[in-house]
Amino acid sequence: MVMFFLKRMGEALVTVWGVVTIVFFITRILGDPITLFVPIGATNAQIAALTHSYGLDLPLWKQYIHYVIDILHGNFGKSFIFGYSALQVVLQRLPATILLASTALFLGVLSGTIAGAVAALKKGGIAELTIMAVAVLAQATPTFWLGIMFILWFAVHLHWLPAGGYGTLSNLILPAATLGVFVFSSLARLLRSSILDILQEDYIRTARAKGLYPTTILCWHIARNALIPITTMVALLTGELLGGSVVTETVFGWPGIGRLTIQAIQASDFPVIQAAVFIDAALFVLINLSVDLLYQFLDPRIRSRG
């Protein structure tokens, strides 16, 4: 168990290092940031001085070594745009992203689980047909379009909710619903097919031959097994949402990590891009790690192997 954990930790560190390295080189390909933010008419000497002050005149390998050493010290450098610690810039945006992601997950998981279970248990009925039609449609709808449609209906036409912004519950509803629809469709479809597979299992026949109540069979025999694929899916979705949903945050003007990353890329703000990707990768790896540990509790077959 301890060995298992240490091994997973090691793998996690390697993953984060890999991501951080790839980001370093990709940002260097994007172009020279200095030319973007020197004032018009700056002399070559001024540009050289500025380049030097950010360490961008060093050979690439030296920049990389400095970069890795700095990261190990928790230092991602100063944001070119904001003028203070890039990590701080990113961390300031994190609460907004976490709030949006957790609300969307809560709504999506709740509705997706209920809908998926109903679709599987009422197979062949009108309920299954409706749920699956909605889920497939939702999966096929681009998030940006759905976001815009929500704004159009609920903000522009009905004036029920604000079209964007941050701070109150009413600001949260539309972006959370937009992302929630995405979570809902993934979960409903997965849970339906998982339950249909489980219903075919011999142990469900055994449970029925025992004369157990349908609720006992559902809550113990089906749910305990369906929880395994659902956990995997929720973990993946959590990772995706915590990385900041670029499109939704942009459409609704939500001050999260996704929108920040896009702004930083557009401005070639290397330190912020690097810090944002680092935080994103670290969160993703952390979630994976916790899911691996969670599996130990959900699936006894993994537990005895670990």
Partner: protein, 339 residues
């Protein structure tokens, strides 16, 4: 005279398929006395499992449909009961053991829970009493250190051990009837013998009534009082076990018996195979369903369905559905029985 524990009368079941109705069970009738062990033998598709699933109310409907008949168990017609009433019987008065112990236990629930839940469902025992009873049951089916195994999961048990757990589940509520559907088929031969031995002991101790379904006659030889041979959803022959084995009157029984390998066979000798394959039950042949594969079939066999009748000059209860006289035909064609 005591009343039968189970009596099946004129049971017919079809499956509605895209190609039309599939006649899985055809006018099946038999009865089972308390304390009797009935061995039901037949190829896959002979209706042996289907009629049991119908009895338990576990047939998926649609596509399955009971066309006619009655299943009287302990004085009640099971086919007339509601799902709720059937649930009270399943696992309670009727215990069930299934074929594949590797997949018949839930992999994410402990062995203890899987036995406990059936006891708590059907008896008024407290959780503490039920746990004690679970330990007794595991001990009864020959699992050592039973108390320590309650918190283990199925994957920590071998196939034979899992089947013992299944038997413990089947017996948990002291059922009047225990049904084992191919309970030893998936197990090694030595484990098979152990399981059959275990059932034999339980039977002697408690006098429980058993239906043992298998496709392998030899696996029921020590267990069954009565042997019933099924084919195409019908009973072809039934009677006291040794009588049927030693004096078969249906050509199908005779074929099944001849296809069992015996130690007296010499090497290189081919095992007998029943020619042809089971009939397509979407359009069953007229007359005796086995006639197309029967080397002794008479013209009448292809025309009329033979009723299940008492075999003349044999023990009472030895019944066969055949128009031909098998012993007479075998004496005319001695080369046929050359093994």
């Amino acid at each position: 005279m005591t009343a039968p524990l189970l009596e099946i009368r004129n049971l017919s079941i079809v499956f509605d398929t895209a190609e039309g109705p599939l006649h899985a069970v055809n006018n099946l009738s038999y009865s089972l006395m308390p304390g009797e062990t009935l061995g039901i033998v037949g190829e896959s598709g002979s209706g042996k499992s289907v009629h049991i699933m119908a009895l338990l109310g576990l047939l998926p409907s649609p596509p399955a449909r009971v066309v006619s008949g009655e299943i009287l168990f302990d004085g009640e017609n099971l086919l007339k009961l509601t799902e709720k009433e059937l649930r009270n019987i399943r696992g309670g008065k009727i215990g069930m053991i299934f074929q594949n112990p590797m997949s018949s236990l839930n992999p994410v629930l402990t062995i203890g829970r899987q036995i406990l839940e059936v006891i708590l469902r059907h008896t008024s025992m407290s959780r503490k009493q039920a746990t004690a009873h679970t330990i007794e049951l595991l001990d009864l089916v020959g699992i050592s250190a039973p108390a320590s195994r309650l918190t283990q999961y199925p994957h920590e048990f071998s196939g034979g051990m899992r089947q013992r757990v299944m038997i413990a589940i089947g017996l948990a509520c002291s059922p009047k009837l225990l049904i084992a559907d191919e309970a030893t088929t998936a197990l090694d031969v030595t484990i098979q013998a152990q399981i059959i031995d275990l059932i034999q002991n339980l039977k002697e101790k408690s006098g429980i009534t058993i239906i043992w379904i298998t496709h392998d006659i030899s696996s029921v030889s020590t267990l069954a009082d009565t042997l019933q041979v099924m084919y195409a959803g019908r009973v072809m022959e039934r009677g006291p076990f040794s009588t049927v084995i030693n004096d078969p009157r249906s050509a199908y029984t005779w074929g099944l018996l001849r296809s069992i390998p015996s130690p007296s066979m010499h090497s290189g000798q081919r095992l007998y195979q029943i020619p042809g394959s089971p009939p397509n039950m979407l359009s069953p042949p007229p007359g005796d369903p086995f006639a197309p594969r029967n080397p002794f079939a008479t013209p009448r066999c292809h025309r009329d369905t033979p009723p299940l009748r008492q075999v003349p000059n044999s023990l009472p209860g030895h019944m066969a559905a055949a128009w031909y006289d098998l012993p007479a035909l075998l004496s005319l064609h001695p080369e046929a029985s050359d093994v």
